[in-house]
Symmetry: D2
Subunit: 473 residues, 4 copies
């Protein structure tokens, strides 16, 4: 097998940084070595097949985006990135693993859906991928499928407290699913918004002629998120299941998570780049229909209320443990524009899978996060949270050689015609400038992106059979 | 230089565990390697000078005890362990670094004391050692000495809110010292108990004839600890200094630390094994003068109030970040017995430097901590907290080869005539049984303890010139 | 009209106590006077029609029980007290006003039900009565009925988060009803338990053969109450409606109410005597089917968890504002016994309308409440909370002459054959001994109970047309 | 004795309002009567000596200002209002009782000082007055004097955590005084600011040339107030003493008080009009030396941090229980101007005794408080808090006839040449306009202010011998 030495860089882990070399043999890391050490009898730089010079750069474990929706069917259309286009864009951005959501809609069989998703992904992915399972019809057969899926490496299950008739489970169903999670050790994931409240508010706003994208945000107040977050925590408390709240955007929801964690519960929260950078006033409130670009749920929050700053702080304090994208792209044309005149018909979602590593690195540049915390929230914790640690999320002998060489002296301009490889006709991040650059990306030992060139291929990515969470206390 | 391969063990870090080999060349780790990998052209097991077989065992970074008082002068006597006996006992227990406290008493010159402590330690230590500086006389010269000490590798300064006339600084002095810490980046450490309250309570108890060791605990109620903890946090808030609260024992003090951390402050807390295992009722309340064995400050707390369980939980939730010993041993004869008939004359301190790794490992056995968290709170976080990370606290190429091979199938019985190498005529941990065993201890590449035999020497240990904290958010 | 002078007693208000005389003319209080004052030209004691000697006794405003269910239809049976028997028992116990619940079940017309309840009560009541309206079918016609009811003096509306198919409203319905309350000023009352969770737990327990009354408590954990309480608060926050949580029994629910109040919300909580005195272990857990006597919802809570003591404290701190009974009596024979072999079939309810004043007074005797707080939580606050103040809840010129002379030197033994006038074949309070006694009760100037004799009559009681809450901040 | 009937007004209590007449005989209220009632045989309006027509006006219990410093010696000068001028101004503003502070400075005898203050006040006061005792030298003789003072009607003792060498007690002294309070039932009052921190900050600011009045505020950050508040609470917790924190200005200090109250402690907080209306930026930050007018301690707080709004809210939620003035006036000329060039030399204090009732009434006009709450925080609660209830703070038969007729249709313009009767050469409230007016003020049955005319006299006011607090839970 081919050997590669990443030499001269500063390896950054979640706890520290140091200069040493990384030796890859085939798909895995086999050794970490003092730079230039001759203890092994020879200068490896002269004997390996390939040397990657990482001098002056950071060497980090490949990014893990634990929340994506490639080609997800929703409301008569599909998220615009396929597994092929979406994972390729991910690779461009230094992300070497995704965990995507298998969807069960009501009356669908869980295992059928699981196999269907395997078919969608197999042979198409540029990077490795795992699956979470969405349950939208919690009944006996779904519950027993949970055990089977855990043995298949699907160790996390997502439920919804919103989207009645589509995704929503009632509290009794949630309770039953959580009991199963407590029993088989799976992580229970929750879309925490009170859909019943929201549905009434949506209907009232539309009836009042408040149909612009901005009102999407108004229809989903922070109280709806705080409420559902607290409710999920209480059900977790009754059952003993570990709980992971997805796409947390309201500071009050963070407070609920923080309070549960302070009491010693296994409760976790994920946020997304959009909740760190974007706002109700600026993006959702853009003139005309422009705001549709940023219609997602939970919605962007009011900067005047301080949610964004609070979310950055929560990342520092580990009240929020990690950052995923909730990548769910829709084009403006033919997709987002279905909601002209009625915000509730705008497909919900933002595409960010390509930019997560960069956007978070910019937080390091701006002093909001330490370099180590960047690695932790984008790679190490996602790996631990979802049972991939050891193989993913760390640079260690035996781990998959998913490695990114990141240049702190490089620069990345995001936007159409600049950096933008996702299958979308706009960028939610148009105009963002990043003081850093993804130079080289290795997926299981193969260079897939190098020096502004894509060298990967569809089908390189393999399914990640995950274990139970390694992040529980 | 001599090469050593620790082979076949499970290396445990603060984030995970995996089987790989550790190659040591001289004093440092030079490579981590997949076991049996031949990528380097040969089987290292046949070429290195020494192979340590760690099969079935844990390989962990050596323990760091960041709070010891070797041969500390106090109340006319000295802590009974010298740097020689104390560091040797530490080595026995898998601790390869200590950070000891240089003492400035009133009217003493800080730098003189610092040099004096160097003299005490030099040539005597079995393992590496660093220094914190105690300031008991905050005045202009002391403040300017802080800058010089930082450049000498003493990057943490301890103040006291108790012990009037001996250690106590008033809030104005604390404010000034904290301002200096905010300025030069040093960590400010605090003994957080309200001494003025305590002094009155002590006087009243003695006057009432309540002179038994038990009343030592009564004289220092949790309110005195919570109060001082909150006060220190407020001063840290005004100044911007990072704050590290030593020997936290009251759950209410933890709540104050947690609350400050939730607000995003750089506030940290340390606890000690005694606050996890021992109690006011059982130990301090032992019949007659027996309780004197466990007179320390902060005092052991009432189990009926739930402090011990709360402290374990706080370790899990990272509301308390690490565990040190506050090792400050005094013998019963001629030392503790000075307080017969007056608990306030009992020298304050417990000796635990030898048992910290074992006692905390027992928490793993009992399901209170994960294996990874054990490594984190005993080694990785202490290293990061006090600016030693990279060199200490981690198994990585380039790090000092401070490594412990720990046997989860071994057993350790603590007590006199069993496991007890500290210079004390009793053990505070008599009768504790540990389901694990420190097999082999390497300090900077040298085996100092192996298979129940001490192979180290006084003078092997070197001074650790520390940097600023690597744990700030 | 007849004049009465209550003379020589200590009048107790919610803020203090003092000796003065109360002059009644017909149905109302017309003057308060210094005892023996001759400023009015004559000694009133010689000129009024009747003098009630209250020397050595407390003179207090008549009790107001704001939560009763006389002859409520539920599960195919009726609460065993009619308006006649229930209000007579209330009078015996020093309660001179009740607010009873008009029930709308699904598909029933709100106003029809309101008129039906007037028919039930008219001509039957011993004391004055008002109505709250229960809404179990929130739809447009129900919402518009709310406005009409407010003008009829029904200024409070109760919704349920439990009892699916019977009472339960979903969160969208609750939102709409709360919006109406925010608009017309009505108080929104909530039965706060998560019915969906509870229904699953009930089903599971029954399936496991756990059918004893004790499991009624297990099926309704505190998390279900805390959850619903928080949810109701969030909906109140979104809408701006004032919220009154009925029958709070879990300390965690109190914490939610306290926290909302600390943030300045108009959120209030009521508890009941059973949550202050009785427990899951002792009463619900009584041998065999005995526990059925105390099956009510929210359920009795575990004393081991400290709910009862916490509830007393919450009454002192005004985190809970008042005490009602949730009087809903069912006999053991033919009613409670429907649930033999299946706790979920036991009619829910406890009868206490007769004993509330005594049971709370015992709290004064035992040092849990001040005398003034007793008057506040049993009379003055209920009057203010529900828009009756001025006419009820206070001893003031112009107020209805609802007055109780309470003897702190008397004694009351509760139980069958002792003090028990409710239409029940058992007493939930059997064996309770009270160090005080209701001596004389006046309802609108008429003595209805005197010296152990009932002198009232069915039909004396009149409907109380209430205004909006006078307790909002 | 002369009889007076206050007729036709709306009597407002802390719990409600109603129209009835108040009959006064000599110094006391002897009856409350339905207006126009003939039950007493005649129309009182024709038989009493005087009828005060209160139609369309509020009739309230006279204001009680529980925190004044008449002619207080401080820093070589005296507060500019004597008991004569200060109490006269109070009467003008509808305040009929003050509680002033007897000062013990170090080395002074407590009882001597107490008698000295009696001499100052006797024969000079327009209204009734009580005394708190300041302890600045807690030693055995001071502690035993506390018992004697309680029997003299001085049932509250104030300590200081600031002003070293003048007022400050250390925590041991505070502990001892609080133990005495816990024992004899006295209320312990606290000036809660960390003086040691402040002294350093003051010194540093002056050294940096930051000498303007604005820096007075900077030198006393909210952390110093929160800190001391928490510390006082902890000492109260250890001892069991009730605690009353004076002049609370920081929202964080309120949080500490709220939290203690939530736990069931007898902890109370007072704020002052200046902390509700004025701010660091606007008043203290006025150009040049102008800000000196508002130099007081605790200082005015930053409006940008939201303290003022939080304080209003805390009054609504009863997290702060009452409003006093901390009346301590100094003239700009010859007094405040001692601090030109050094803010620390500006005498601390603001004069407001005349305007408290009006300023708080304006809060009612602006919807910040209910009318009932206005009466509660300005009269009823002060009376209960400090053991005067029954005699003061309420309109009830037997109470002192301290009554104010307040006209909600009147208007008051505050300022020099407008409404200003305090002995100050400026008004801290210049330009404030009040939508209400103090029409008539009775002190113990005597009209002292009527229709813009002062009809009182020095010496009318009598000493109030107070009992223990009636506000404890
Ligand atoms: Zn979602
Ligand atoms: Zn999603
Ligand atoms: Zn210490
Ligand atoms: Zn120590
Ligand atoms: Zn109910
Ligand atoms: Zn009910
Ligand atoms: Zn003060
Ligand atoms: Zn003052």
């Amino acid at each position: 097998m081919a050997t590669t030495l990443i030499s001269g860089g500063t390896v950054v882990s979640s706890t520290g940084r140091r200069e040493y070399d990384v030796l890859i043999d085939g798909e895995r890391i086999v050794a970490l070595l003092e730079p230039g050490s001759t203890v092994l009898g020879s200068d490896l730089r002269t004997t390996v097949d390939t040397v990657i010079d990482a001098s002056g750069k950071y060497v980090i474990p490949g990014g893990i985006d634990a929340h994506t929706h490639m080609e997800m069917p929703f409301g008569g259309t599909f998220a615009s990135d396929t597994f092929e286009t979406g994972t390729r864009a991910a690779a461009w951005g230094g992300t070497t693993s995704i965990v995507d959501f298998v969807v069960q809609y009501p009356d669908q069989n869980v295992l059928d859906q699981y196999h269907l998703w395997h078919e969608k992904a197999a042979g198409n992915c540029a990077i490795d991928y795992g699956f979470h399972q969405i349950l939208s019809d919690v009944q006996d057969s779904s519950l027993s499928a949970m055990d089977e899926l855990v043995s298949e490496g699907v160790t996390s299950f997502k439920l919804f407290m919103a989207y009645k008739g589509v995704f929503l489970s009632d509290d009794g169903q949630i309770l039953r699913a959580f009991q199963k999670g407590a029993d088989n050790g799976a992580m229970m994931m929750m879309h925490a918004e009170n859909g019943a409240m929201i549905d009434v508010l949506v209907q009232q706003l539309i009836a009042e002629g408040k149909t612009d994208p901005y009102y999407h945000g108004i229809s989903r107040p922070w109280q709806a998120e705080e409420e559902a977050t607290h409710r999920a925590i209480m059900i977790a408390d009754v059952t003993g299941a570990p709980l992971y709240v997805v796409h947390v955007s309201a500071k009050q929801a963070v407070e609920q998570i923080m309070s549960a964690r302070d009491r010693g519960m296994n409760v976790f929260g994920e946020t997304c780049p959009q909740y760190l950078y974007l706002s109700l006033e600026e993006q959702l409130g853009a003139p005309g229909f422009e705001g549709a670009k940023w219609v997602c749920s939970t919605p962007l929050r009011a900067r005047a209320e301080g949610h964004q700053d609070h979310m950055w702080r929560s990342l520092r304090t580990n009240d929020i443990q990690m950052v995923s994208t909730d990548h769910c792209p829709f084009c403006m044309k033919d997709q987002k524009d279905m909601g002209v005149g009625d915000f509730s018909k705008i497909p919900n979602g933002i595409g960010s899978v390509e930019h997560r590593m960069d956007l978070l690195y910019q937080g390091v540049v701006e002093g909001r996060l330490s370099l180590e915390r960047w690695v932790e929230i984008t790679s190490t914790t996602p790996a631990r949270m979802f049972g991939m640690y050891g193989r993913k999320g760390v640079i260690e002998p035996g781990a998959d050689a998913d490695v990114v060489v990141y240049d702190p002296n490089g620069h990345t301009s995001i936007g159409l015609g600049k950096t933008h490889h996702m299958n979308m006709d706009y960028s939610a991040w148009e105009g963002f400038e990043i003081d850093g650059h993804v130079d080289t990306v290795l997926s299981r030992g193969t260079v897939v992106v190098d020096d502004g060139e894509y060298r990967g291929r569809a089908g390189h990515g393999r399914y990640i059979k995950r274990g139970l969470s390694q992040y529980l206390i």
